[in-house]
């Protein structure tokens, strides 16, 4: 078992990563005993597991994912939602909270074309389009705050190891941030200025996801903007 490529470095598709009995992580494939990268990304080694964390790429739905989507069509029994995936998602009326049974009212009273909804992927098995639900705490129409759309490939970096990046962002900017796995990020701040700084920081993560010391650099950027975060607020209170 030999690691050939240097960990934490950018690798191109077809680049030899390792040889031997490693566990294949995402975006890697095996030919004989050799393991290659399948996309442009950062090479990571975690014990026996070799992974390439992609630097680019769209969203591919997985069951349980929290996703932000835009209503594109209102039907008789549900909505069609654009969740920035290669497939159109369906949100059936039965997956909205409220009384069961046949409803006579127009579905567009709940969600209309153009509305943003925060939802969860209920079912998806590649043979049929993903099914969404808005039953659950915090799910439903997004009518306040700001929505930032970044590449879905950068979401793991935005969350950080054990949520280090996102919890730092929330603390320092004093904003409530919800991250959709499909790259839709929702920001609610106590002032427009706080929201602006948070949005800027999110774009910075997207741009510089593959660089070292990013968390510190972003903390510094927020500190320079003189936005009062949570820590400072509790101190003044």
């Amino acid at each position: 078992m030999v690691i050939v490529a240097e960990p934490k470095q950018v690798v191109a598709p077809g680049e030899l990563l390792a040889e031997g009995d490693h566990v294949l992580g995402d975006n890697s494939f095996k030919v004989g005993t050799k393991i290659f990268s399948a996309c442009i990304g950062i090479f990571e080694v975690d014990g026996n597991r070799v992974t390439v964390v992609p630097l680019k790429g769209g969203y591919f739905p997985r069951v349980g994912d929290l996703v932000g989507g835009r209503i594109v069509d209102v039907g008789l029994s549900g909505w069609t939602v654009d969740i920035r995936a290669p497939y159109e998602a369906m949100l059936p009326a039965s997956e909205t909270p409220g009384p069961r049974g046949p409803r006579r009212r127009d579905l567009s009273e709940s969600f209309d074309v153009g509305d943003m909804v925060l939802s969860q992927v209920l079912a998806f098995d590649r043979t049929r389009d993903p099914l969404l639900t808005v039953k659950g705490p915090g799910l439903g129409k997004i009518s306040t705050g700001r929505v930032v759309e970044i590449s879905a490939a950068k979401i793991p970096r935005l969350i950080g190891r054990k949520g280090s990046m996102i919890s730092m962002l929330k603390r320092e900017t004093g904003c409530q941030i919800t991250v959709g796995q499909n790259g839709v990020v929702m920001v609610w701040g106590k002032s427009p200025e706080n929201e602006r700084v948070a949005v800027e920081a999110i774009y910075m993560v997207e741009r510089e996801a593959h660089t070292r010391g990013l968390t510190d650099r972003i903390r510094e950027m927020i500190a320079k903007s003189n936005v009062v975060g949570e820590v400072a607020r509790t101190q003044t209170a």
Binding site: V10, A12, P13, G14, E15, L16, N27, F29, V31, K34, F36, A38, C39, I40, P54, L55, K56, G57, G58, F60, P86, Y87, E88, R126, T127, A153, R207, E208, H210, T211, R212, G213, L214, D216, R217, E220
Partner: protein, 255 residues
């Protein structure tokens, strides 16, 4: 603009070609990645006087829906020459040649893209030749595989392509427009290095078995060189951002 005249000699007495190259020399190549904002992935190549822009979209929903395949993504490819890309205005309607090249380029890329990861979708590749100077199908493949990688589409590896030909009885690498027109044969090759697969092999003209074998070796060597340049170009985009960001950090620490 009139058709350029046929040069008296394609190779001079010293064995130098009309553009000053040796027989086994590539034209200067410039590769850039991610230069289109709206496309999911893009690449630009200059090879000699060739200027080719490639945009990739996808994987995205297949339209019209009936073209979608239940088990894998459909790769669609369009090779197109701009009306101003050649000496005499090219009719913008898709020609027989463009349709053929779209097909062979698609086939040369299909074997590396992991299409089974995205069933019922399409991946669209648009290859726009802005200026043409011979060997544009090869330059197109080189740039298209880069653009696919830039879009983050999972693929086995990058495809590199290069043509060889026969001019005045000699095998010569990477023919230019004049050499292609007035030479005796042309042999475009696309190669996938790790798998050691030839994914495009066409021939125009007549070559002996020996000439063919010599030409193929020359083309594969050139593909190796081009493949290295592709990897470098792809990584450069991210390394530049990294350098700038980390340098900024260092100067801030000093300040």
């Amino acid at each position: 603009m009139p058709e350029p005249k046929q040069p008296e000699k394609l190779i001079d007495d010293k064995g130098v070609r009309i553009d000053g190259r040796r027989l086994d020399q590539l034209r200067p190549i410039k590769l850039e990645v991610g230069i289109l904002d709206k496309a999911d992935g893009s690449a630009y190549i200059e090879q000699g006087k060739n200027k080719i822009l490639v945009g990739v979209y996808g994987p995205r929903e297949a339209h019209p829906k009936h073209i979608a395949l239940p088990d894998r993504a459909v790769l669609r490819c369009r090779y197109r020459m701009a009306p101003f890309s050649v000496d005499e205005r090219k009719n913008p309607a898709p020609s027989r040649r463009e349709m053929e090249l779209s097909k062979v380029i698609r086939e040369s890329l299909e074997s590396v893209v992991l299409t089974d990861l995205y069933p019922r979708t399409t991946i669209d590749v648009f290859i726009e030749v802005l200026q043409s100077d011979g060997g544009s199908r090869c330059a197109g493949i080189t740039a298209a595989s880069l653009a696919l990688a830039d879009a983050g589409i999972p693929m086995r590896e990058l495809v590199a392509a290069c043509a060889v030909g026969k001019i005045q009885g000699h095998m010569a690498l990477d023919l230019s427009d004049a050499e292609d027109k007035y030479g005796e044969a042309d042999l475009p090759v696309a190669w996938v290095p790790n798998a050691n697969l030839v994914t495009l092999l066409q021939m125009d003209g007549i070559l002996t078995t020996n000439e063919f074998e010599k030409g193929l070796t020359m083309a594969l060597d050139a593909c190796k060189t081009i493949h290295g340049m592709q990897q470098e170009a792809l990584k450069k985009k991210y390394l530049v951002i990294k350098e700038v960001a980390e340098e900024r950090e260092e100067t801030e620490v000093v300040a």
